[in-house]
Amino acid sequence: MSDEKRGAKLTRRELFRKTTRLVTAAVLGSCAGFAVFKSRTEATVWQIDPNICVQCGNCAKNCVLEPSAVKCVHAYAICGYCDLCSGYLRQNAQALDTAAHNRLCPTGAITRTFVEDPYFEYTIDETLCIACGKCVKACTAFGNGSLFLQVRHDRCLNCNECSIAQKCPSGAFRRVSAKTPYILKDEIVNRG
């Protein structure tokens, strides 16, 4: 009724709008359909492959969170429980003790506990760890490599594009299934 009143010009405009809307809906529908066809329902999360990681220290600097969602993780099963731990002590450490000037960790996040002679247990206080990777680098180079970096999923926001992954020089970041969200070193070693 109102269209008749306003004359033929508006009706033409209305027709154009209707056709374009239909075409747009079809294009959007097919685009979404194609994406759904290529989609997966399984959720994924970011994780570091410790076998590729070069412990450059970028994890500490590039996460959108401050401090980083990456933390040092300890695989106890492959730790040597050394008294002279290269991940715990500086290379030129004066003494085998817990004095700050002898410790490698800049935030003192590694706790050293006596187990039995001559073994010591090393645990990481994640509230202090900043993911600088210094202990990981030393442990991998001189020890068993039981310390390694992992994305912690209680902190990680699972960004669309991980900003650390963008800066990772070795390409160690990849998306893994949310059901198995960690790449643990003891599991890798045990598997052979």
Binding site: T20, R21, S39, V54, G80, R152, P181
Partner: protein, 437 residues
Amino acid sequence: MTVRRFLLLAAALVILFVGTNQGFAIIRFPHPEFESGYVLPKTFTPPARAQVLEYIDVAVLVICLALASYFVIKKRARIGVFSLMIFSLLYFGFWRKGCVCPVGATQNIALVLFDPLYRIPFVVVAFFTIPLLFSLFFGRTFCAAVCPLGAMQDIFLLKPVKIPGWLSQALGMIPFAYLGFIILGVATGSGFFVCRFDPFVSFFRRSASLNRLLYSTAFLLSGVFIGRPYCRFLCPYSVLLRWMSRFSKWHVTITPDECVQCSLCKESCPFGLIQAPYADTSILPLKRETRRMLLLFILIPVLIAGGGFVGSRLNVPLSRINRTVLLAEQVARENTSKVFDTTLESETFRQSGKPERELFSEALALQAGFKRGGFILGCFLGLVLSLRLIELTIRKRRDRYEVDRAGCFSCGRCFASCPREQLLRKDKKGRVIVHEP
């Protein structure tokens, strides 16, 4: 004790000489056999976010969009829009920390089209498609009350200043260029630039580097005076929303029934999107308008070809957004002794043992890709520019004050300014009003 120390030293020397930097755990010191009954602690692995929560996010998105459309189209209530806006800011912004968002999901959709191996999460497809579908029916109600970025700017728009039309039109071309640029970035595997230049994500996460914080603060502060600067002059998703809204089935109207042409609403829109009635076509002689139109039609192929030419010529600087190209350039500079300082990336590359030739051929292929992509991007921008010029030339007959359907955020600020609306509202309260026709 001394034996262990000797062993450690020996191991260190071996490693230094071999010079490997492999991450593989090498058991240099055998796992001790404890006698004190020590139990091996288990490595603490906090689980990832439960998947069902992601589906709840989608449900919340749908409910919010439905509510926003109801408030804007049916209820015509700015207060409803505003309340929903605060909820969305809290939920999608501060609670979900701004991820997944439909603006960023555009990149994932682009990646599906360019990377056959990429498997997109279903939730991301939903987040991209649902707001566009709603816009196709109700206009940009997503921008009005659901997008946390829009909400942030809308809430802090306290002292709106008028931006001259020509400037607003010119800046309004940026989203098209930005959308083209991010698609080029995705197509060449260079990264997700929308996420990197997200305006408010550092507030949502309450954690950011100084640069990001300054960037966010600049947007927030300029948003106090300029209406929704990100939405109007940067948001790449707005390009798609504009298109949907332009042809939407229903759309927000300024007046609930008829327009009395009082022009009161014009001042109420802080985005300058209300268009005055236009009836008289004899202001400009028809001949002059036709000539201008003809000129534009000739200009279209020129602009497209010119854009394509410039775009393809810019391939080398453009390709520097890609890490592989940057690495190859650095390695080449080091090889020819143009630089003496190595970078972390080039050192890692040399340690990885990947042949240099492989890297260089990858970089060359990428540059060729940027040439094609730059050409397409340039053509696209030429086309967009010429279409915009044509749109500005055509004068549509309009018998009432109307919103610019494509640009309108459906925020509902104009409702209260309309005298017809005021009458209706007072009627609802049961007061008797003498209405002069």
